[in-house]
């Protein structure tokens, strides 16, 4: 891996920024160069949230991801907006319980994850984001438990340490798909 560019996008409240932060922290704990840039514009207040995450071996240039290697689309507007931007050969992870249409591109690998439904059924309705994270880690072959644990330790503050277990469960559920 030289550099990987992630674009996380969805509704405000789906944990888009948190999922991005988890990936950035995971890169950091593994000694990579990382950047995390949220959208902070009016669209954030109107409902859509997105964030750019870059993880690489060399220093990060522009922190803005305009051509993602990996797109995480957690709602339809996000897929509509960013599908074309994904690099050929890239990956799209989408929440198929909220996005009914299929991806039009045939030069990318698509992972449809009914994350919101699974999160509800498993008693952690707010963690669809981390189910998708689990699936991403599995597909990138990065789901080693100690790396996940290290990143969780960083991204969840001591005050909210009781949330670690449920995040861990959501990630393993995603990784089992």
């Amino acid at each position: 891996m030289s550099t990987r560019q992630f674009l996380f996008s969805g509704f405000g409240g789906q944990g888009i920024l948190f999922a991005g932060k988890f990936m950035a922290y995971k890169g950091l704990t593994e000694g990579k160069n990382v950047s995390w840039l949220p959208s902070y514009g009016p669209e954030m207040r109107g409902g859509t949230a997105s964030c750019s995450v870059i993880i690489g071996d060399s220093p990060v240039g522009s922190p803005i991801v305009s051509k993602p290697d990996i797109l995480i689309a957690m709602n339809l507007p996000s897929l509509d907006r960013y599908e074309e931007a994904v690099v050929p050969g890239g990956m799209i992870f989408l929440d198929s319980s909220l996005i009914e249409r299929k991806v039009k591109r045939d030069d990318v690998t698509v992972y449809e994850i009914p994350a919101t439904r699974l999160a509800g059924e498993n008693g952690f309705p707010t963690l669809a984001n981390m189910i998708i994270i689990g699936k991403i880690l599995k597909e990138l072959d990065e789901s080693q438990p100690d790396a996940v644990e290290a990143a969780l330790g960083k991204v969840i503050s001591a005050k909210h340490a009781d949330m670690k277990d449920v995040n861990r469960r959501a990630i393993s559920l995603g990784a089992s798909l």
């Binding site: 932060k21 840039l37 990060v60 922190p63």
Partner: protein, 355 residues
Amino acid sequence: MADKVLMKGNEAIAEAAIIAGCRHYFGYPITPQTEIAAYMAKKMPKIGGTFLQAESEIAAINMVYGVASAGRRVMTSSSSPGISLKSEGLSYLAGADLPALVVNVQRGGPGLGGIQPSQSDYFQATRGGGHGDYRMIVLAPSSVQEMAELTVKGFELADKYRMTSMILADGTMGQMMEPVSLDLEVAPAPEKPWATTGTKMKRKHNIINSLFLTPDELERYNFERYDRYKKIEESEALYEEYLTDDAEICIAAFGIASRVSRNAIDEARKIGIKVGMIRPVTLWPFPSAPFKKALKTVKTFISVELSMGQMIEDVRLSTDCKVPVILCNRVGGVIPSPDEVFECIKNAAENGGVE
């Protein structure tokens, strides 16, 4: 890497200020820099410092004037429209020779503009938004690490030269998170015998003032101040060079524009274009020397800016307009993509700088 933490640029500025010994912060919220105030609100009460949300930007900058007069490290922060409001106070700080740190996390303008990143306050920062002959030391970070380091430097230079330092960042620098080491070296603040710290009945009282009704006296202060500015120009300019050794095309860019440009340069190098970059870290004093030196190989300069072309004037002044200087820009909160900068480089390579 173990001791690095992920922080937003805004938070890194706030934490670095505390590390630098700043215990007094006055501000008024405005996107995209509000995290600085939020961080200070949380931290200052715990360490015996002052956090005060003023009734306006004008009030905040005058509170800064007060604390600076008392000889303590002090800061305020805002974003473009708020800095315009503070400009009267910036002029007064200059007129009274007071050290302070002011942060501008720029957004698009003019007017209320937008809330997305911009670099269009370059003139305001380097030429002075306030009235009168004065300068500020202007520091332009291009990473979260530099947001922290230049904050410390800003306080040190402000104290050293008794003037305002400004951190000129932008919305992306403020909002992005990157790993940052907060193991920062801080030189102890110098003695400030001029400050209003109480005479203890042992000396004549100090007066902090910017009103001088005798022209000769006011002229003398202006001349003295510009002698100091000259020393700063000679000794404090900072910059970073990237692949300039053999560069025939040289980009000038600071802050976020330099990050985007770096990607474009790497792409252009892959197709054999000899392109490099000079990244000014201080915008005032402007680092003219590397630009003069670059004239040995450079045939065209490209100023990449998030403005309608402001720093480009300093690039032209530094090079006496000996070679073309082209503008590559987006404004209004739009950030040029690496592809756009790459196209600009390619055009310059093919057309020799003819716009």
